[in-house]
Symmetry: C2
Subunit: 420 residues, 2 copies
């Protein structure tokens, strides 16, 4: 087991060990937010035929040269084409056909005149414009041709992709599986949120914040409950999590007397790969894995017990692994360049993640510490928009300096105004 | 009914009519992503008592002055305090007590020495550091005091808020309701994704992209299916949607012959408030409402039928309304300042939303049109990261100019590297 890694080494060790999950086939609406596990090649032409983009009249542009509001062209309405139907016959020179949005253009027609630019007179129509060939016509295949590689494997499925897959007739689609994350909590002092906390007991809140972090990144939490400080209880709960893709112990996998978790993990066949990362908060992070390349068991993260340390180490190390499992290639939170609104100091040696609030200031964004950076102060996480990366070797970041932050709260980006 | 509004007028008319939904009480894990409908005031002290942040030894700082690795201080280990337990008696001067993470500090102790900084010798311990008062002690109430206003109503519940609510013993919490959006599709040419498209039929893909847009913003789509071009069918389907908060007709509420939707809506008691917005794509947008301030029925959006127009008008007008219903105050997509990588031209008069791809270029972001801007070309939406706002009065935006875009694809912000 390696010890005292720096943050980059730890992340590299984790990602090296993290596979991409296999595929599953989902009904299209359920695939929203997932990552495509197959390339999508069209078997269709979309639209299937030249069709009308408007309700109005199909005509030949050559028949309308010079037509205007003051000098309209009068044409007989030869027939009508409904949206779901087809033309009875080709359109002849000097004729118009009534056409509805989405209806196929009759052979011979090359333009659609919007209803608003016409006046109907019994079985004839006055056309008040002289449109260019192709006006208000959606051309066959202008969106997609048969054989087109429409979406590549690895693409996240957003609403436009859902619409496109529907249009291609793909009611079912292969996507990367959702990682299941078994969460174990442990400690005789811990209770569930509905319990009495008299006598210094503490709610196992980490399990709930971690489960929420899993859900936000598209993983499926499986909460194994609170293990007592006893190997038997820990073992039976951990066994219930072995079928998951990731096992997160929020109990900590530490060097303390009561750290039975580590012993039980080893007994069950987990190999611990590292312990201790030179960061603050979050030093006592452990990482291990079950099985080998041939037969994979869950990845194992032993997160520190302090609420902030647990959330921050999840952000830095578990979240990117879950993104990789899910099939994403860009694994990390958005990073922003911001201006520091106060001077920060620390000792050299460990990289600090400083909880900061952000504030827009014209074109700049200002960052300011949320105050008490104690690793038990969860409230400062609720107030933080971002984590400022205070490099290991630095001891001071000065007011006015430009620094990088990792954006945790994407709501910060939501705008007050629509941009128009 | 007003006609030919500009984009700002249309948005203002919609938001003026849009209420904030009432509250519902959810079990905490289900409240993730919702907006708090009650202020959260703590009834607890967190942590409840001074306690240890480490496994190690509780002691008095005054007894350890000058201790170091080469000159350790030796103290008797008077007793042990387990995480779930309490101290048997106060710590006296010159004593240490074995203490585990999370265990309450015994009266008299003012410091915790980490196990790593000690050596155990039978019933005595050698302490190799001289810590300041308070080291590795989590102080009672350092996170939360009874009576603290911890979270304000209106706050989005993210993972840190979930953890905080759990810690406060709040297993149930009042949040804003999720808007239900009834989606009607209509047209004799439309079929579901599993149907044969021979003879020029088209998949009702808008219903699926709109449902996905609803889900992404936290609303609950209710798909009413495809109405035939017949008033009876439209009416029975619309009636099934009247209990929703929002009714979206992707059929279009237009001036065409077969626009039965508008007639049926009026018959059912909907008042159309405007039709036509001076934008491209998306001009034929309609907005109306059922009921009055006293007895509210659904808001009604008649979206244009073209796939891109439907998605773009949803983005501009339906999404902000859904955000308001859900309790958000910042209603709009993130806007970014980007550099235009090509010259764009259009006629003055309508505001254009140009589908663009973004590309990082050092500190800048470059924007480039996705190509064919036809409103039937859904593929260009799958390729777009953002919509560029090309103002109504402008006719040219030049290569190199700085312009605003609305960011649709937040995955664009995901980073390749962690920022450390």
């Amino acid at each position: 087991m390696r010890r005292d890694l720096d943050a980059r080494e730890a992340l590299a060790a984790i990602l090296e060990r993290t596979p991409v999950l296999g595929a599953e086939t989902l009904a299209l609406p359920a695939a929203l937010g997932r990552v495509l596990a197959e390339p999508i090649v069209s078997g269709r032409r979309i639209p299937p035929a030249d069709n009308s983009a408007m309700d109005g009249y199909a005509a030949r542009a050559a028949d309308l040269t010079g037509a205007s509001e003051t000098a309209p062209r009068e044409l007989p309405v030869a027939f009508e084409i409904a949206a779901g139907g087809g033309a009875e016959r080709p359109l002849r020179a000097g004729e118009a056909a009534r056409i509805l949005t989405g209806a196929p253009l009759p052979p011979g027609a090359d333009v659609v005149v919007r209803q608003e630019d016409t006046q109907r007179r019994g079985d004839r129509v006055l056309i008040q414009v002289a449109p260019p060939v192709g006006e208000h016509v959606r051309h066959a295949g202008e969106d997609v041709q048969p054989g087109d590689a429409v979406l590549a494997a690895g693409r996240r499925i957003g609403p436009a992709e859902v619409g496109m897959l529907a249009a291609l007739g793909r009611g079912f689609v292969a996507v990367r599986q959702q990682p299941r994350v078994a969460i174990l909590s442990g400690g005789d002092e811990l209770v569930e949120p509905d319990a009495d906390v008299a006598g210094g007991r503490t709610v196992s809140s980490n399990s709930y914040s971690i489960a929420a972090q899993c859900r936000e990144v598209g993983a499926l939490p499986v909460y194994l409950g609170i293990a007592r400080d006893a190997p038997d209880d820990i073992e039976s709960r951990l066994r219930a999590g072995l079928a998951a893709d990731v096992l997160v112990s929020s109990a900590g996998v530490s060097v303390g007397d009561r750290d039975y978790v580590r012993g039980v993990l080893t007994k069950l066949g987990c190999r611990l790969l590292f312990w201790g990362v030179k960061i603050k908060p979050g030093y006592p992070l452990a990482f291990g894995a079950f099985g080998d390349a041939a037969e994979r068991g869950p990845l194992v993260f032993g997160l520190p017990g302090n609420p902030v340390s647990a959330m921050v180490t999840f952000e830095q190390f578990v979240r990117p692994a879950l993104r990789k499992l899910t099939g994403h290639t860009r694994l990390h939170r958005p990073t922003l360049r911001v201006t520091l609104a106060e001077t920060l100091r620390k000792r050299e040696g460990r990289l600090h993640f400083v909880r900061v609030r952000l504030q827009r200031d014209g074109e700049r964004v200002l960052a300011r510490s949320t105050g008490n950076q104690g690793s038990g102060v969860l409230r400062s996480m609720t107030e933080a928009h971002a984590l400022l990366v205070f490099p290991a070797e630095a001891s001071e970041l000065r007011e006015g300096e430009t620094v990088w932050v990792q954006l945790l709260d994407e709501e910060f980006l939501a705008a007050d105004a629509p941009g128009f």
